[in-house]
């Protein structure tokens, strides 16, 4: 019978056969390629019992307006059964700029919470027991500064740092590649990351100092192959930097974590999570021969694909998110964020975010997919995809090695161009209707029914500026300036900056002041424009 299309391809562009059989896995050995759950090469998952032991952490990324506004949203989410926090900061905070800077005008509290000082951070976590929740903080350029604020809040409350558990995104390489929020040039940024890794290994052992992120690479338009390859290669770059700085690999590698996108191509996405674990275990073993098995285990957070959502017929986004979330679960993720249906229009309403959380709870509690570990292991199709993704990612590894590593590749615009080209390919495919997007290039409705939209108060900006001005009046500015000077000194002679950052935030130096001081020492960065 005639098939519907001349070619069937995965979202990454792999040709897909009509059916997969034993012939596709001829030289494939389950012992070598799969292992048992919780055992090398971890294809089937990092834990022996996976979701039978413990479900994934349901962690909705949230933040808007003032610290109080976001604190209320955190409590709402915890009250509805979420078990981990995830902070979204606004653009000025992400760029290390104070709320009263001209550059911050119009941006304060819009796409996340505005944090300019330790006082803001204290209010953000008011009444939230920092030793009982896990907190993820999505921040990169100024990550070390924000982390210092979090540690200072814990100290003020008498919570010992070794009891803190959470994740700092702190992944600058993918910023140069995809998300474009940087403060300093790549090399000094890498040094700051090594400082946080070293500090955590000594003082905050349960903390994940870096979340090596493919999410943003994928959102920028990459394929699953590119997401996998660039992310793991970035991870290896951080490991190499820390090892070069003298840290034994087993002292810090168990605390590294990863963050992947869960996109539309269901089986390819499941295979991507499996391939990521196997490839990381193999590369880490080959390169560093660690003694601790945890050093080669890839633990990850996943988020459904924001870029797959449409402003048209927004309710359809609930269905997309459900399928993507299921892929992340079948792929064995350790924590998950599900996007809300209204996020192509604004930050989500409480109802929309609750529905997104309920989506996870339904998968976890009603679908029974959590009963057996890696339920698709051994599927001819999924194993073939896992193999192909691993091979394709290794091809990229070789190319990046040949270029002299990721920083050199970024300076040449290589990953940026690969991603832009992939995103244009996808666009062309959807324009030619080779890829159908429901409600966009097919099943279009001429009149759309509006949905409720979340609104952020207009007073946030003024309030935040006023608060900052009060802070500047009330603090001991002489003491503050001393801590900032000491920080600059430490940064210029290559000392670990973390203790100095903690002193500076405690002396009420603001985020913007600290970042400006660091820029004077570390420099700034302009990207090579790739178009």
């Amino acid at each position: 019978m005639q098939e519907r299309k001349p070619r069937f391809t995965s979202l990454s562009g792999f040709d897909t056969n009509l059916v997969y059989t034993h012939d596709d896995l001829k030289d494939w050995s389950p012992d070598e390629e799969l292992g048992a759950p919780g055992q090398f090469p971890y294809t089937r998952g990092v834990y022996p019992t996976m979701y039978r032991g413990r479900l994934w952490t349901m962690r909705q990324f949230a933040g808007f307006g003032s610290a109080e506004d976001t604190n209320r949203r955190f409590k709402y989410l915890l009250q509805h059964g979420q078990n981990g926090l995830s902070v979204a900061f606004d653009m000025p905070t992400l760029m290390g700029i104070d709320a009263d800077s001209l550059l911050a005008h119009g941006e304060i509290g819009r796409c996340g919470v505005a944090i300019s000082s330790l006082d803001d951070m204290e209010r953000l976590f008011e009444d939230i027991p920092l030793d009982q929740v896990t907190t993820s903080m999505t921040i990169n350029g100024p990550a070390a500064v924000i982390f210092a604020m979090y540690l200072a809040v814990a100290e003020k409350r008498g919570i010992r740092l070794e009891r803190l558990n959470g994740t700092l995104q702190n992944d600058i390489l993918k910023e140069y590649i995809a998300q474009k929020e940087w403060l300093f040039p790549p090399e000094p940024s890498l040094r700051l990351i090594t400082d946080t890794i070293a500090y955590c290994s000594e003082h905050v052992p349960k903390w994940h100092p870096v979340s090596i992120s493919g999410y943003h690479i994928r959102e920028a338009g990459s394929t699953a192959i590119q997401e996998l390859a660039f992310t793991l290669y970035n991870g290896l770059t951080y490991v190499e930097a820390a090892v070069k700085a003298g840290l034994p690999v087993d002292r810090f590698a168990p605390q590294l974590s990863f963050f992947f996108n869960a996109h539309n191509d269901f089986f390819e996405e499941i295979a991507k999570f499996r391939a990521a674990r196997r490839l990381w275990a193999r590369e880490m073993t080959r390169r560093y021969r660690p003694g601790d098995p945890r050093s080669v285990q890839l633990r990850c957070h996943a988020q459904t694909a924001g870029c797959s959502l449409t402003a048209q017929q927004p309710m359809n986004n609930v269905v997309r998110t459900t399928i993507q979330a299921l892929a992340a679960v079948l792929g064995g993720a350790q924590s998950l964020h599900t996007n809300s249906m209204d996020e192509t229009l604004a930050l989500p309403t409480e109802d929309a975010v609750k529905l997104a959380l309920r989506t996870q709870q339904i998968i976890a509690q009603e679908s029974e997919v959590t009963n057996s570990v890696d339920p698709l292991g051994g599927s001819y199709y999924v194993e073939t995809l896992t193999n192909r993704l691993e091979e394709a990612a290794q091809d990229y590894f070789h190319r990046l090695d040949d270029m002299g590593g990721m920083i050199r590749a970024i300076e040449r615009g290589f990953p940026q161009r690969e991603i832009l080209d992939a995103s244009q390919r996808y666009l062309r495919e959807s324009e030619r209707k080779e890829r159908i997007i429901v409600g966009v290039n097919e099943y279009v409705e001429p009149v759309e029914r509006p949905i409720p939209i979340f609104k952020i108060g207009q007073d946030v900006e003024q309030e935040q500026v006023a608060r900052l001005s009060d802070l500047r009046k009330c603090r001991d500015s002489f003491k503050m300036a001393g801590t900032v000077e000491a920080l600059q000194e430490a940064a210029s002679c290559g000392e670990n900056v973390m203790p100095y950052l903690i002193d500076a935030v405690k002396a009420k130096a603001t985020l913007g002041e600290i970042c400006m001081a660091l820029k004077e020492v570390l420099g700034t960065y302009r990207e090579p424009v790739v178009l």
Binding site: M91, L103, Q179, T344, Q424
Partner: protein, 135 residues
């Protein structure tokens, strides 16, 4: 003999602090492929920089992308500056994460069009092609 009209010159860029440049680059490529001259400003532009570049480069229109929620402030500031510089004949359009209500408010203020996730690129190209050369 008819004089072939010069291609439209369009400034495309990111204003404000967010760095999400997937959409803006695809639009820049699409307009260029459609025969227009594209001036791409890159990231993190202030409204002042955008308007100055637009005037210096003698563009016919400005297309800006904002995904941080700062669209109301930033688009209005660009309109204001265009007015101050007597350059209101340079058309302003854009795209991003923008709710209906803000689209209505900003188009009432003078933004020619705002496109959102899922907007077909062809629709954007057709819109830009239909703009009048300025001056």
């Amino acid at each position: 003999m008819a004089v072939a009209s010069a291609p439209l010159r369009i400034l495309i860029g990111k204003v404000g602090l967010d760095g999400h440049d997937r959409g803006v680059k695809l639009i820049a490529r699409a307009l260029r492929d459609a025969g227009m001259e594209v001036v791409y400003t890159g990231l993190h532009q202030t409204p002042e920089q955008v308007v100055n570049t637009a005037i210096q480069e003698n563009v016919d229109a400005i297309g800006l992308s904002i995904l941080s929620g700062a669209h109301k402030t930033l688009f209005r500031r660009v309109l204001e500056l265009l007015n101050e510089q007597d350059a209101e004949d340079i058309a302003l359009f854009g795209g991003g994460i923008i709710p209906d209500e803000d689209v209505a408010a900003l188009t009432a203020d003078g933004v020619k069009a705002l496109f959102r996730p899922g907007a077909p690129v062809q629709e954007i190209v057709t819109f830009v092609k239909g703009l009048k050369p300025h001056g």
